[in-house]
Amino acid sequence: MAKTILEFEKPIAELEEKLVEMRKVSDSLHIEPEIKIIEEKVNELKESIYKNLTRWQRVQLARHPDRPYTLDYIYLMTRYFIELHGDRGVKDDKAIVGGFAQLGDQKVMIIGHQKGRDTKSNVFRNFGMPNPEGYRKALRLMKLAEKFNKPIITMIDTPGAYPGIEAEERGQAEAIARNLFEMSKLKVPVIVVIIGEGASGGALGIGVGDRILMLENCWYSVISPESCSSILWRSWDYKEQAAEALKLTAPDLLTVKVIDRIIPEPLGGAHKNHQEMADTLKAVLLEELKPLQKIKPDKLIEQRVEKFSQMGKVIE
């Protein structure tokens, strides 16, 4: 896998490179003490950089091309996954995947946005931007989960619903709206996890649930910082300011109660260790599922509607 290094990670990468070189020659030169010093320095640097990320830096981490995507989590967390395809109307949207799987001792339905890793797979996945049939497939699978009384886990990671001619013709807006409407009255528990980018309606279209979880280095908002910059500042150059103003990170969203819980990532981001990230997520999901399954369907729906009703802030 090609490693992508973000601008703010460069000092770390440089030191790590130096370490590799030093280790190569350490036997002949006896420089272990020096190596130790640099190792400590790397750790200090990592701590100081990753604990003080700006909002825009987090956006970059959320988009990191080496980050685990929905199918990675499914393969790392579950067994017996059967992917289910198609909306039964138009086609199979490759930007949303889903199916039943065994997660620990639980049988669940997992649905999520899916991005590609390289140009070819990104074109195949439409860069994780669903068309209406993606949302309709997701809803079909949710109804299937409801029929068999299995909890639903959705994973959000999209730069947005696709803005295209066919998407409009086939009712992008209606497809998303329908999902919001139907998801709010599903009789089974729904856990939503933001695993990367959560851009606007395209994200929310599979984002109505009983518990909203968010990985540490993700963003979720009404618009991307770039588009916000282009509209409000009339220039693409204010994305950092837009990211700050939108308050789109996990800690921000926990404060305004849009999300319920932040899931920690390995130091440096989820892409640094896929297995560790998946193990953490799996443990959290199993822990979150237990109490939800004890709630009766009517109560569950009532609480879900109430949860979203509480969101927002007004002055009387």
């Binding site: 803005p163 295209g164 992008q172 709206a177 009255k185 606007s200 309606g201 837009a242 927002g312």
Partner: protein, 279 residues
């Protein structure tokens, strides 16, 4: 335009417009016919020559749809709390204060109950002139409370949309208003109460992708722009021109997302008749 200056003034686009006394006359932006304001109001702000529907606000729609003086507004003074302390080129709180002053409105929707041909209904009307009719916490909250009231009093709900979508300045909280209003509509539907969505020019973005598309019947005014992604964004993304008539009411009718396109003059009677038929 600082780098060049017109050497002589040979065209003055303003001169013709200035012939009309300010505030009394309006020009149809389709066929350029000029109307006296009173005449236009009598015709429900529709051009009598080309049937172009002028953009109007909540005050006008209340007149169009409800029996005279029957509107009782609720939650009138609910207003934005600027939850993110948002600033772009301007502070959001200043922007709000300015728009409140210039429009005399508290936010982009007004809600209440009233009589429609004698039948009690719950009505929400959006105002596009209030920050592009954008939906933030206030719009979401007022619509949610209206639906709660409708459920409690067993009333049908009518929402007139005119909106650019979710309001950027309240970030994710604006986005959540889409979920909130849709969830409330789901509860209304469980009570078997009718919901009529009226889509007017323009209805786009998060508003279309939530309550505006969820009517038991979706009614659109003629030739309104109705979209998820705006035409400019789509054009940028796909890099080619859009087909004529794309994202108009008639286009959505043809593709199956609108039940009927109804002229403003027929709106009240169409809704009234529908409510009668399902009651």
């Amino acid at each position: 335009m600082a780098w060049f200056k017109r050497s002589k003034q040979n065209i003055d686009p303003e001169s013709r417009k200035n012939d009309l006394p300010d505030g009394l006359w309006e020009k149809c932006s389709e066929c350029a016919e000029i109307f006296h304001k009173k005449q236009l109001e009598q015709n429900l702000w529709v051009c009598s020559k080309c049937q172009f529907h002028f953009r109007i606000g909540s005050a006008e729609y209340i007149k169009v749809l409800l029996d005279d003086d029957s509107f009782k507004e609720i939650n009138k003074k609910v207003r934005s709390a600027d939850p993110l302390q948002f600033t772009d080129t301007k502070k959001y709180s200043d922007r709000i204060a300015g728009v409140m002053k210039s429009t005399g409105l508290y936010d982009a929707v007004r809600t209440g109950t009233g009589k429609m041909n004698g039948r009690e209904v719950a009505l929400a009307c959006m105002d596009f002139k209030f920050i592009g009719g954008s939906m933030g916490s206030v719009v979401g909250e007022k619509i949610a409370r209206l639906i709660d009231k409708a459920i409690k009093s067993k009333l049908p709900v009518i929402i007139i949309s005119a909106s650019g979508g979710a309001r950027m300045m309240e970030g994710a909280l604006s986005l959540m208003q889409m979920a909130k209003t849709s969830a409330k509509l789901a509860m209304l539907s469980e009570e078997k109460l009718p919901y009529i969505s009226v889509l007017t020019d323009p209805t786009t973005g998060g508003t279309t992708a939530s309550f505006a598309m969820l009517g038991d019947i979706n009614i659109a005014e003629p030739k309104a722009l109705i979209a998820f992604a705006g035409p400019r964004v789509i054009k940028q993304t796909i890099g080619r021109d859009l087909p004529p008539g794309f994202q108009t009411s008639e286009f959505l009718l043809e593709h199956g997302f609108i039940d009927t396109v109804v002229s403003r003059k027929e709106l009240k009677n169409t809704i009234s008749t529908f409510l009668e038929l399902v009651s």
